[in-house]
Symmetry: C2
């Protein structure tokens, strides 16, 4: 490692899991990117403005024709054209306003806090007695226990940006993804928080989960586990249940491979698209140690270079939360790893590309409840980015695959009701069981919650 790398690394790590020392940092100033995931600003603003004008213009025609396509009135009348034109103007004007950062009715348009380069970034005031605070609170609030039906309380946290997706189909798949999560969580007694707020302008994008997790831990002491799940991850095993008792002595459960982590130092050794944090002091400390590479701009850019230099296979780009966590756990292994469970016995995160084409084979040979390569617990569409425009895979392949995962999961929910999808791609469903005047016989056999509570496997 050259001196340059060493100096950079030292900036991001401190001995006691504290913050990022940036006193010596020569902040570039200016040109700092703000706003949500990766949108360029500054010198590209002019280009962006011109492109937006063209977009709006073509959007006119698109909406006009769409309206004509599904309309029931006569096309071509001048009155209808005037109405269409008005519709188009209104839609685009309000879309532009929603997309913009400014709220004309709100005088406080500026960012809430300016990052002071001479002060180490922190997620919030340091709390050192969270275990004690929580313990006292739980004892004083028996109406809010941290267990229910013999299970520790889990909160599933996910989210997406508050603005419409750049690719319109993205919002449709965000909707399908949350419907999918609603189904799983209903069957397993898990509550959901869907976040659409920018809690911290510095930790935007994939880093946004850190302040969110911290906030939820501190506001919901009754929760034993906070489970972060990306918006592009789908539950595909509706029966499988996380074996929580396996993690009694751990505070972080994350999918990954120890050899990839410790031997290869690979940047994909762990996946932060689906992981669980125990609500405890240790987790607060880890979040504090994790956050310093996150603040957008020069800090995140520089941190990215450190990560690329030290993690195998990592491309050159700004620091992402996953690489930063891997780097942290490698660098401070003795401090953290005894409480980290690197799980790969089931697909807490299942990389989609190796799974989605095998769903028919799975349906033929196996059954829900396995959670592993035979019937993946979670299928995660890493790299697809349906909400944006620059995924790593073809749009066609991604959309088809997400639709297949959705249907594959939905079949498991519809089964109780006597339906299934005709195929894995289309929306249509068909009956798999005649309607009956005694529906409760079926309910006893098929309700997933009964098999989960009774700890018996349900056959597909």
């Amino acid at each position: 490692m050259g001196q340059d790398n060493f100096t950079r690394q030292k900036r991001f790590l401190t001995g006691g899991g504290g913050g990022l020392p940036i006193n010596n940092y020569d902040a570039a100033g200016g040109g700092r990117n703000r706003g949500f995931p990766g949108m360029p600003r500054g010198r590209q603003m002019h280009k962006r403005f011109n492109n937006m004008k063209i977009t709006i213009l073509c959007g006119f025609v698109t909406i006009l024709v769409l309206r004509g396509t599904i309309g029931v009135g006569n096309l071509g009348s001048s009155e209808e054209e005037a109405v269409n034109q008005h519709l188009i103007e209104e839609t685009n004007r309000i879309l532009a306003e929603i997309r913009s950062d400014s709220d004309p009715t709100d005088p406080d348009g500026a960012a809430e806090t300016e990052l002071n380069p001479n002060v180490t970034y922190t997620l919030g005031p340091k709390i050192s007695d969270w275990d004690q605070q929580r313990k006292v609170w739980l004892s004083e609030n028996p109406g809010f226990p941290n267990f229910a039906n013999g299970k520790a309380l889990i909160l599933l946290v996910t989210g997406s940006p508050p603005k419409p997706c750049d690719n319109p189909i993205g919002d449709h798949y965000l909707l399908k993804a949350i419907k999918n999560k609603i189904d799983y969580c209903r069957l397993h007694g898990i509550e959901i928080v869907y976040n659409m707020a920018h809690l911290d302008k510095e930790l935007a994008g994939y880093w946004a989960k850190l302040p969110l997790i911290r906030m939820l831990m501190l506001s919901h002491p009754e929760l034993e586990w906070i489970w972060w799940m990306d918006s592009d991850a789908f539950f595909t095993d509706m029966v499988f249940e996380i074996p929580l008792s396996k993690y009694d002595n751990y505070n972080l459960v994350i999918h990954g491979y120890p050899d990839l982590l410790f031997q290869q130092k690979s940047w994909i050794a762990l996946n932060t698209g689906s992981f669980l944090f125990r609500n405890c002091q240790w987790s607060l400390d880890l979040l504090d140690a994790w956050a310093p590479m996150g603040p957008k701009g020069p800090i995140r850019d520089e941190a990215g270079k450190v990560l690329t230099a030290n993690l195998k296979g990592r491309p050159a780009f700004e620091a992402d939360d996953q690489s930063a966590l891997i780097y942290l756990l490698l660098s401070q292994k003795d401090q953290w790893m005894d409480k980290v469970f690197v799980e790969n016995q089931y697909y807490l995160h299942g990389y989609w590309a190796g799974l989605v084409d095998r769903y028919e084979e799975m349906m033929e040979k196996y059954h829900p409840g396995l959670g592993d390569e035979r019937w993946p617990f979670v299928t995660h569409f890493v790299g697809c980015k349906p909400c944006g425009s620059y995924g790593d895979y073809s749009v066609d392949r991604c959309l088809r695959s997400m639709q297949r995962a959705f249907n594959f999961a939905d079949n498991q929910v519809l089964k109780l009701y006597g339906y299934r999808h005709r195929g894995l791609l289309g929306p249509n469903i068909k009956r798999i069981r005649d309607d009956t005047t005694t529906p409760l016989e079926i309910v006893d056999q098929l309700d997933i919650r009964r098999s989960v509570n009774g700890k018996t496997e349900s056959k597909s």
Copy 2:
């Protein structure tokens, strides 16, 4: 009423709440509309195809420029142009495939059942002992009680079509609407089912809720109430709780006005955008009596004429579920009304146009928990149709208003976490409380669930 009307009406009602007698019916045949809400087919197919070609063509340019707008590479290189072109082709091809009804991998593309005009349409086999079946089941399954924490079990049911919205912004507001419902239901211990399946091709569109409600009742005997809520309705009072004990002697709770119903016979006397059905025999019977006007095509068209002729202010269009219910309850008043609670003490359904402009005034003068015109429980965007293209109001006004309702509600959720939106239109939030090392003091004061359970009002 002329003889013509009388004959039509007689077709749709039977004395005992049975089905629709269509033996004398001269079914028009052909031209029956199938598929989801109001998309014209048949003779408009050719027009539609041409319009779709134009749409795709302009969609090319739109996506191309969008990609250029948010891209980070150089615009104009031939390689980039080729990639863009490919992206465009893929997106449109898969979108077209998803939108179409046919699944190329699935041989069974046809509708599942053909409606026989000589047989009265029914939702399913007639069940006559549902109260008894349910009672026995509950006694045999103490692990699935119909009460929890002293409250009867409620399931909130909502949904949207399985295909992307024609207006792209529609999916974004469907997403915001379900996030809003997730928040309310989490705070009040209510489970959610988000339906995206066409259970019954005959009862498509607004009628789809009927087979859905029936299916859920019969599959979930532990549920005491099924609460249908439209996808365009937002919770705007996060504290207010439905006073269930008020309805101990009722089986249907629906927002409306008795004078509009009985004196004026108005087609908007009740609103089926938000109502509760008790899970019992009476409800199954009402659903059976309600459904016959629903089957799409000549039946629904003819039924529409009856409804327009008999309900004040109703425009001429096919039968909708709301008008049909009003007509049924008027025509068979003695049979049903003793178990129907027409509620208007709070906004179980709150018509948006009179509410959304007063949110700032409400925040100034009142507080959550009131549920009425001072702080509406539900704000329902009747007529906006953000998923389609032909709403009854301007797109601008609708989108702004929905965003305001969303933020107004979100503020009540964010309060616990120490944030609020800067204004009611934009996405940005700001801190309203300093972060602290003792967060649990605030939690005790602000967690809505604590005020709900302790039956104290929470001040805004």
